[in-house]
C-alpha cells in the first residue's frame, strides 16, 4: 500500500508525516507522534475519549482518516500546557476533583477548552451541552462541570 504525505499543524508546530492511508487520526497521533493522551474508548465516536481540537472545534479522532487533517490545526492535551505552565482547566480539573480514573480526562478537558475558546462565559447549560459528547463512566460529571465553572471565574 502506498503511503500518503500529510502536513498539518500539531500543537503549534508544523509537521509532515508519511503514513498509511488506512490509519485513523487517533492511530496516527498515538503511534506516529507519541500523543498517547488521545485515548480510544469505543472506536465509533460515541465516548469522546479520543477528542482533539481541530481548527478550533472538538472532533472525534477515531472517526477520521489520517489524510483528512491535511492543512488543519490540531491540538491534543500535550499541547495545552505552555512552557510547563498548566492551562487553567488542567488546574481546576485537579482542584475540583474532576479526575478519577483519568481515561476520559484528556477529551473532557479539550471539549471544555474548545468551548471556552469560543465562549469565555458559558452558562451551565452550555457547558453541559459542550461536554455531552464525552462520557465519564466513573460518573464524575458534577465535579467536571464545577471544574469548568471554576475556570470561567478565574
Amino acid at each position: 500500500m502506498e503511503k500518503i504525505r500529510v502536513s498539518f499543524n500539531l500543537n503549534n508546530e508544523d509537521v509532515t508525516i508519511e503514513t498509511f492511508p488506512n490509519k485513523r487520526v487517533v492511530d496516527m497521533l498515538r503511534e506516529d507522534f507519541g500523543c498517547t493522551s488521545v485515548k480510544e474508548g469505543c472506536g465509533e465516536g460515541e465516548c469522546g475519549a479520543c477528542t482533539v481540537i481541530r481548527n478550533g472545534e472538538p472532533v472525534t479522532s477515531c472517526t477520521m482518516l489520517a489524510g483528512q487533517v491535511a492543512g488543519d490545526r490540531i491540538v491534543t492535551l500535550e499541547g495545552l500546557s505552555k512552557n510547563g505552565e498548566l492551562d487553567i482547566l488542567q488546574k481546576t480539573f485537579m482542584e475540583a476533583g474532576a479526575v478519577q480514573c483519568g481515561f476520559c480526562t484528556p477529551g473532557m478537558i479539550l471539549s471544555a477548552k474548545a468551548l471556552l475558546m469560543k465562549n469565555p462565559h458559558p452558562t451551565r447549560e452550555e457547558i453541559r451541552r459542550a461536554l455531552s459528547g464525552n462520557l465519564c463512566r466513573c460518573t464524575g460529571y458534577t465535579k467536571i462541570i464545577k471544574a469548568v465553572e471554576m475556570a470561567i471565574e478565574e
Binding site: M1, E2, I4, F20, P21, N22, K23, R24, G43, E44, G45, E46, G48, T51, R54, E57, P58, V59, T60, C62, T63, M64, L65, G67, Q68, A70, G71, S111, A114, R129, A130, S132, G133, N134, L135
Partner: protein, 293 residues
C-alpha cells in the same frame, strides 16, 4: 482497516473525475463519521477512498430568489449556527441541533446524512417535510430529484457510484408557515433517534391550515410522508384542539407501519407525545395559545 488508495481532491471537478475513474470500488467520505467506522471494522472495503471534505465550494447556506440552497458539505454545526436556518427553518435547525454530539456535529455533513440513508438519520426527515430537492453530479452531468424519489429504491438511494450529492435545496418557508422537528431518544445527547417527527404547516389569513407536510422518521426503513394526517389538517383551524384530534391517528399509523416489531408498543404510545410537542412548537411560532412555555 483493509488497504486502499486515498484521495483528497480540492475541487468538485477533480472529485468527479476520481469517482468516474474508480467507480468500480470507491467509497466517498465527507465527515466520515459513519464510513470510517465501517472501514475500520473491515465491514466495508473499497480500493479507493475519496475524501471530499476539502472541497470548500460545497460548504454554504444561501437564500436566492426564495430558495434555500445548502452545500452538501455543510456540517450540522454550520447549519445550527446559521442565523437564517435557526430563525426561518426551525425543523431543520432542530434536526441538526440534536444530532450525535458536538464532535460529531463538527464533522458530520448534511450531504452525508442524506446520502448514507441511515434509518436513524435526523435531517432527511426534516428535509422531506420541506419537500427538498437533491442535486447529484457526475463527470457526465447533473440531475436533480425530489428527496422522496431519491429514497425510492428498495433499501438504497438513487446515487450512482460515480455521482456526488452536491446540494440540497427547498423553497424558503414564508411568513405564513411554521416548521418543527421533534426527536425522541433514550437520552438527550449521543442518542439514536427512536421517533423523528417533522412538520411544515401553512395558514391563511383566517388561521385555517392551507398546507401540511408531515413526515415520520425512524419507524419505517425511510422517513415517510403521512398523507392521512396532512389531509386531516388541511382546511381546519390551527388550534390545539385540531392537533389533539389527530393524536390517535398517529398511533394507528405507527402501529400499521411496524405491527410485528418489538418496539411497536412503545412507539405507538410515545408518538402521541412526540406529536404533541411538535404541534406545540408550531402553535408557539404562530403565536397561538397552547404553544410551549
Amino acid at each position: 482497516m483493509k488497504e486502499f488508495s486515498f484521495f483528497s481532491p480540492g475541487t468538485l471537478d477533480e472529485a468527479l473525475s476520481l469517482l468516474s475513474q474508480h467507480k468500480d470500488s470507491v467509497s466517498v467520505i465527507a465527515g466520515g463519521t459513519d464510513i470510517v467506522l465501517e472501514l475500520n471494522e473491515r465491514a466495508h472495503t473499497a480500493q479507493a477512498v475519496v475524501d471530499i471534505s476539502k472541497i470548500k465550494d460545497l460548504r454554504y447556506v444561501k437564500v436566492v430568489d426564495g430558495v434555500v440552497r445548502i452545500g452538501a458539505l455543510s456540517t450540522f454545526t454550520d447549519l445550527e449556527n446559521d442565523p437564517y436556518i435557526r430563525d426561518h427553518v426551525k425543523s431543520l435547525y432542530s434536526a441538526c441541533y440534536y444530532v450525535g454530539s458536538p464532535q460529531i456535529r463538527n464533522l458530520g455533513t448534511i450531504g452525508g446524512n442524506v446520502a448514507n440513508a441511515s434509518v436513524a438519520g435526523d435531517t432527511p426527515t426534516a428535509l422531506i417535510s420541506l419537500d427538498a430537492t437533491v442535486v447529484l453530479r457526475s463527470a457526465a452531468g447533473k440531475r436533480e430529484m425530489k428527496i422522496t424519489d431519491f429514497y425510492s429504491g428498495a433499501g438504497k438511494t438513487q446515487l450512482e457510484k460515480d455521482e456526488l450529492l452536491t446540494e440540497i435545496y427547498f423553497d424558503a418557508p414564508t411568513e405564513n408557515m411554521a416548521t418543527a422537528y421533534t426527536k425522541l431518544g433514550k437520552r438527550k445527547a449521543l442518542v439514536i433517534v427512536v421517533i423523528g417527527l417533522a412538520v411544515l404547516l401553512e395558514r391563511d389569513c383566517n388561521n385555517i391550515c392551507s398546507k401540511a407536510q408531515v413526515v415520520i422518521g425512524a419507524v419505517a426503513r425511510y422517513p415517510k410522508r403521512l398523507p392521512s394526517i396532512e389531509h386531516y389538517l388541511v382546511g381546519k383551524p390551527i388550534t390545539k384542539e385540531t392537533f389533539e384530534g389527530c393524536r390517535d391517528m398517529f398511533s394507528q399509523i405507527v402501529y400499521d407501519m411496524i405491527p410485528t416489531r418489538a418496539s411497536v408498543g412503545y412507539k405507538k404510545e410515545s408518538v402521541k407525545g412526540v406529536a404533541n410537542k411538535t404541534f406545540n412548537s408550531i402553535l408557539k411560532d404562530f403565536s397561538l395559545s397552547g404553544g410551549e412555555e
